[in-house]
């Protein structure tokens, strides 16, 4: 049952992600990415992480993707432009081929490495209760990781200011 659910969610995530980068229309890409994030939330539930799954849905599929949709609609560029002729041989089809080879190489390398390592150093039979408790996550964030939490709040503030300043028109 677990394995079946894993395969189903994994297939949805991989296929949706492939379609995201295969789409010409950014609007469809954003919609498919939401599907992919939903499948990842399902995987988090399988991993006994309901809090992370809900955060994934609310923050990622909800907030961040709506931001993307907003910009896609604002700019209204439905089609990707074809490569202008004679920009540079590196950016033309040859560059695309180099990119495809590099990413395939990365995938092959990671699969090879994961096939070789043994992961017997993980204790088996960890109970689900020790990782699925929201209280444990909260106390971890606000005690051991309090500095990172505060730094994150400063980061958000800077990002907010930066976004406002960057997107502002220079001449009112």
């Amino acid at each position: 049952m677990d394995v079946l659910a894993f395969y189903a969610f994994a297939a949805i995530a991989v296929i949706a992600s492939l379609l995201v980068i295969g789409q010409g229309n950014p609007m469809h890409s954003v919609m498919l990415l939401i599907v992919s994030f939903g499948a990842l939330a399902g995987l988090y539930v399988l991993l006994d992480a309901p809090f992370t799954a809900v955060t994934q849905i609310i923050v990622y599929a909800g907030a961040i993707m709506v931001l993307f949709l907003f910009v896609v609609m604002l700019l209204n560029v439905p089609r990707e432009e074809p490569a202008p002729p004679g920009v540079s041989t590196l950016l033309g089809p040859t560059g695309m081929r180099i990119g495809a080879v590099l990413s395939l190489l990365l995938a092959g390398e990671m699969l090879w490495a994961l096939g070789r390592i043994g992961i017997g150093w993980f204790s088996q039979g960890v109970t689900a209760a020790s990782v699925s408790s929201v209280a444990l996550i909260g106390s971890g964030i606000f005690t051991r990781h309090a500095f990172a939490f505060e730094a994150t709040s400063v980061l958000i503030l800077v990002a907010m200011l930066g976004a406002v300043v960057l997107a502002r028109r220079e001449h009112f």
Binding site: F68, L75, L104, V126, S133
Partner: protein, 100 residues
């Protein structure tokens, strides 16, 4: 329970797909979406390894990664809007000059 390796392989595949998107696409918005795919692949690794170690630290760092992703998306999209105002295009090849 599904072995940890399955999750790691899936995460590696998603990361490679994100990398391919960054390399292959000629649309700034799709490039940002590919970066989100890569961040999510890493999140999956954190949560899976945390689950198999029996610690909540994986979920905590996922929380921080999501915050950074939100900040990155906000600033990145603001940059895209600013760039689009100047050039009326989303093609990254159009933004090769350091100054205009």
């Amino acid at each position: 329970m599904v072995p940890l390796n399955y999750y790691l392989v899936l995460s590696g595949l998603l990361f490679a797909i994100g990398t391919a998107g960054v390399f292959l696409r000629r649309n700034l918005i799709t490039v940002l979406l590919s970066i989100e795919i890569m961040l999510n692949a890493v999140n999956l690794t954190f949560v899976a390894v945390g689950r198999y170690r029996g610690s909540v630290d994986g979920q905590i760092i996922t929380f921080f990664v999501m915050t950074v992703a939100a900040a990155e998306a906000a600033v990145g999209l603001a940059l895209i809007i600013a760039l689009f105002r100047h050039r009326e295009t989303l093609n990254p090849d159009a933004f090769t000059a350091l100054k205009w």
